[in-house]
């Protein structure tokens, strides 16, 4: 099934509109377990997704390792009578903004080089804490995307990615300390030093134990803390689909000041060499930089073709495909603009409070309502302007709309988290903290 135009031609006899999306990818992963090189994996996969509109209804099917077009088309045709109404037309574009997402260095990297980077990182971190057990994954990949539709639209691009992820655990009796961080982008990355420095900082701050009591406390969310606690409910709320359905808490807040005026948030699929970037989305609508929040005011929701048509809006180029699913509106890279406060000054300002580096389970709260509630996997107590040590058995809960309505400060140094969030520290007023007494 290499010839997309042939599939398109075949299916056009059976449906009014059609779109064929093919992605082929090759990934190599070098995995260290407990500081030792454990497994090397290669993965290659090709899948073809077919979306049709027949008698005004959408049919959808995906085939991987499927060599016959008939079966794929038959599956899509079978689903169409039950599918949602097709309210949109595929775009007829075939010219897209130039978004750099391919680094020619990445395909050349050998498994040996990847293994070498992994051991360098482990060696550096273990110099600080020899008893630390590290799981490291060094991943590289290239993929080719090709999309055609029955209105003459066509898009084609190659992308690469390279990522290093380290999760470390330090066990003393029944006490376990988890540290971790990652770096990833479309480019080859050799700077394991930055990653090592961050991990050593975490280990250093967590050396001493501290405890807070059950009460309301101010919290500094580090960029990773922001990503794990505050972003999941926001990412949901800015979906045009959630706004259209009425499940987004922000649904009727367009143009209203909901957040602190120092907060400006973007969804940006055009940033060069970022994991969330691409010339166009998964249905051939050009990528954009979209302001979601401008100085505290809600300025946009994210739309794909179908949702935009239903809402009487234009697609924002946010139709993203997740696995074997049809496109839905979703974020690309989420960027929170930097503010003025230095992290050190935020800490100095704090009489009694917490720094949260990572919450687990935060997204299990009532996301729709903006609630989050999670256990502090890594966080530190602050007393009289000094970081005292690491807290445990501590739960932080809040509501993202209350927390971000009036904040104390926005950090002056944003950093990438998981390659898709570029966020600064956020210093927030009182949140509910519960601990074991």
């Amino acid at each position: 099934m290499d010839d997309l135009l042939r599939i398109l031609d075949f299916v056009q006899k059976r449906a009014e509109q059609a779109e064929v999306f093919k992605v082929s990818s090759q990934t190599v992963l070098v995995h260290f377990e407990a500081n030792r090189l454990k497994q090397t994996q290669s993965r290659e996969s090709t899948s073809v997704a077919l979306r049709i509109s027949k008698k005004g209804k959408v049919g959808f099917a995906v085939g991987s390792g499927l060599n016959d077009v008939d079966t794929l088309v038959a599956m899509a045709v079978e689903t169409a009578p039950f599918g949602p109404s097709a309210n949109f037309e595929f775009p007829s574009l075939n010219d897209y903004p130039d978004v750099a997402v391919f680094d020619t260095e990445v395909p050349k990297i050998t498994m040996e080089q990847m293994a070498e980077l992994g051991s360098q990182l482990i060696t550096k971190v273990k110099e600080h804490t020899p008893e630390l057990l590290c799981d490291v994954e060094v991943t590289k990949g290239v993929s080719s995307v090709h999309l055609v539709n029955s209105r003459g639209g066509e898009a084609r691009w190659d992308r690469s990615f390279f990522a290093i992820n380290l999760e470390g655990v330090l066990t003393k009796g029944t006490d376990m300390l988890f540290v971790g961080d990652s770096e990833g982008s479309c480019r080859f990355l050799t700077a394991v030093d930055i990653l090592a420095t961050r991990l050593i900082k975490q280990l250093e701050l967590a050396k001493r134990k501290a405890a807070v009591s059950t009460k309301q406390l101010p919290i500094i969310f580090t960029p990773r803390g922001v990503a794990s606690a505050l972003l999941p409910p926001l990412v949901f709320a800015f979906s045009g689909k959630a706004a259209l359905e009425g499940t987004s808490w922000l649904k009727d807040k367009l143009g209203e000041r909901v957040f602190d005026t120092r907060l400006t948030i973007w969804d940006d699929a055009t940033l060069p060499y970022c994991l969330g970037s691409c010339p166009c989305d998964g249905e051939a609508v050009p990528s954009q930089r979209i302001p979601l929040v401008t100085k505290g005011e809600v300025t946009n929701f994210l739309y794909d073709l179908q949702t935009a048509a239903l809402a009487g809006k234009k697609s924002t180029g946010s139709g993203r495909r997740l696995g074997d699913r049809p496109p839905v509106p979703n974020t690309s890279s989420v960027v929170i603009d930097e503010g003025k406060e230095r992290f050190e000054d935020m800490v100095k300002d704090m009489k009694e409070g917490l720094i949260v580096e990572r919450l687990i389970g935060a997204e299990q709260g009532n996301l729709l309502n903006g609630d989050f509630s999670g256990n502090v996997l890594l966080g530190y107590e602050v007393a009289n302007g000094n970081i005292v040590g690491r807290v445990k058995d501590t739960m932080v809960s809040g509501n993202v709309y209350q927390v971000l309505k009036e904040i104390i400060g926005v950090g002056n140094e944003a950093r990438w988290v998981d390659g898709v969030f570029l966020v600064p520290h956020l210093y927030c007023p009182l949140l509910s903290v519960a601990t074991k007494t």
Binding site: L37, Q39, T40, E112, T247, Q364, A434, T437
Partner: protein
Amino acid sequence: MRERFAGILSRCNADYVEIRFEQNQTTQISYRGGKLEEVGRTYSSGGNVRALVKGGWGFVCSNSVDKLSSYVDLAIKQAKLTSGEEFALPTTEPVVDMVEAPVNNDAASMPLVKKKELFDEYNDIMLTSPQIQDSRISYRDVKRKVIFANSNGNYVEQNKPDLTLRLTAIARGNGEIQQAGLSLGSVGDFSVIENLHDQVREIAKRAAALLYAPEVKGGEYAVILDPVLAGVFAHEAFGHLSEADFVYQNEPLKQVMVLGKRFGSKNLNIVDDATIPGLRGSYKYDDEGMPASKTYLIHEGVLVGRLHSRETALRMGEKPTGNARAINYLFPPIVRMTNTFIESGGASFEEMLGEIKEGVYVRDWYGGMTSLEMFTFSAGEAYTIRNGKLAGLLRPVVLTGNVFVTLSNIDAIGNDLDMNQGGGCGKGGQFPLPVSNGSPHIRIRHCVIGGR
């Protein structure tokens, strides 16, 4: 297939090689915003090769299996790159088996129109209930055939059908959005998700009631968990710690998880059992071709076992348990749970409740996560307990704690074991793996509940 695999495997220059080939067909239906939003079908076939050379593993997967021989060579090359020590799996008696597992009311062969009719009914019930703004239905059935062969001479063919359904009612009002849901699953049997109309009505009512329910004040409480949530606790809080791949290279953790150590009271028994017929976590052979087993993790409060792959069992000098599983051919098998549960004890729900002056009764599963010793899990429903009686609905709560402390704080175990077939487990990027978990009602003293 068998001759082809055997031919390739016989020529391998490695300590161990296995081939897994799969054919999967999935039907996915979802409703959102009151409408059927997505219906899709997926066909996927592919395979993988895993090779072991001197303690290092190579793994190659692809959906073009015609180049199988070259993938075997690549897997061996990768294993050599990773190798470094003398280590070989013991040879076992070769097993050849074609497992026939007939599916009752096979969902995969049911016409789409029948599925749609049923979901339309459920959706109507939810959306015509007072204050329900929106609903979600997420349905998936999978027909999966797995063929496994290894250099040991094993050859096994198995079918692994699966089905999941999640229904969510979303209420809006009083300046709030709240939701309540229901998760179910089966080994492909469609009748399990039929005739749920009354239960669907209940979740719609509950979502609306939550709009006006007060929030619990964060802090420590005596808590009773219903069978669903206690099952999640057994899975999240303890089950993951029993997975040997977390333990076998971590010396301090090995000391904590040493067999024979007491973790709970004499009436606490926690089991993982892949041999119970008809449960989503069950199978005859795991993805390393090892026979499934029933494993006591905690027996009478004492740690007596853990879950193993062939490698972890050998490295820890314990018996293999057949718990190496992969969600599909794109992933290597890793140590996973199957059907995990707390065995029934002697207490009745009324007895447990009667002894609590102030506490919280938590029901139903919403999610759960663990970082070995620390866990959080969320309840879909919560009620105040005052002076031995249930005293009103609360907003959903999140529970958190340290597993070692919490296990020893379980002070009563009910007599009403029930297995929950909804949901799926995630680990190492592999999600959702079909599992089930269960428990009777249990009571935990001094449990931290998060609130605002």
